[in-house]
């Protein structure tokens, strides 16, 4: 009887060990990652929301000072900037105008404004490996400005640096279609406001 109980206990212990082992390994892995992050200054303690807000505020000011008024208002109101493409990146397009939607820390989406057809996603980042505060990620508005300057200044170089994917890989195509629709409505309303303002002034 005792022998049977001991054997059962051993089997149960062995089975429990098998079940618990992955859990214990995951815990050990997490503990090790936290320790490494603390050593590298990436711990929660090093995250300062006030600093991040101030950084974003500075980045917004810089963005505003560089882009066109319409683009700034677009970003302020819709959270994205549309930039017209200037190259013939795709032979199939045969000179059809295309544009990019720039989102902060999301892929750049190329599309045809005439039809709303999505062309590609260009996944691109600007990682600062010096990691001054433990992160290589620029503030949102700096990321947008970097994309804007690179597209305006050397579209081909930026696009060739990016990983190209079909639409829907990272950005929900329904969301993009909705953004295109919002952009169209925003432009019409803006035009109307300007028209009313100029007729009022006259």
């Amino acid at each position: 009887m005792t022998v049977a109980l001991c054997a059962t206990a051993i089997v149960v212990a062995a089975l429990l060990w098998e079940v618990m082992l992955p859990y214990l390994e995951r815990r050990r892995e997490r503990r090790r990652a936290r320790k490494e992050a603390r050593a590298a200054g990436q711990g929660i303690a090093s995250y300062d929301p006030g600093r991040e807000r101030r950084a974003e505020q500075r980045a917004r000011e810089l963005l505003r000072s560089c882009v066109n008024e319409e683009e700034w208002e677009m970003y302020r109101d819709l959270g994205l900037i549309r930039v017209w493409g200037g190259e013939s990146l795709d032979k199939e397009l045969r000179g059809v105008p295309y544009a990019y939607l720039i989102y902060p820390h999301k892929p750049i989406v190329a599309y045809l404004p005439q039809t709303g057809r999505l062309l590609n996603e260009y996944c691109v980042e600007f990682p600062d490996e010096s990691r001054p505060y433990g992160s290589s990620r620029l503030p949102d508005s700096d990321d947008v400005l970097a994309k804007w300057m690179a597209l305006k200044g050397d579209e081909r170089r930026l696009i060739s640096s990016a990983n190209m994917h079909l639409p829907g890989r990272q950005v929900d195509p329904r969301q993009v279609q909705r953004d295109i629709w919002r952009l169209g409505r925003w432009e019409r309303e803006r035009l109307e406001r300007h028209r009313r303002a100029s007729s009022g002034a006259a």
Binding site: N68, C123, F126, L138, D142, L145, M149, A162
Partner: protein, 83 residues
């Protein structure tokens, strides 16, 4: 002329400033420009066209910077994102 660099957790940082017409300042700017490129930065200049549109130019050498440029903005080189 001002050299600004985008920084995570900070926004833009003034890294150098000088009068390009003064030899000493120009030399300092040249050295800083090279240092930034060696650190893997891209350099861009915000410009305004004759029609008033704001655009940007990428520059790869100090000699490419128009002497009238007020700002050069450095930002980390682009890399392909999530695969």
């Amino acid at each position: 002329m001002k050299f600004l660099r985008m920084r995570p957790g900070y926004g833009e940082q003034l890294i150098a400033e000088g009068d390009i017409e003064v030899g000493e300042d120009e030399q300092m700017l040249v050295e800083e420009f090279r240092r930034q490129l060696e650190q893997g930065m891209w350099a861009a200049i915000p410009v305004e066209t004759s029609s008033g549109r704001r655009e940007a130019e990428m520059v790869r050498a100090f000699e490419d910077i128009p002497r009238a440029a007020e700002r050069v903005i450095f930002f980390p080189r682009a890399a392909g994102g999530a695969r």
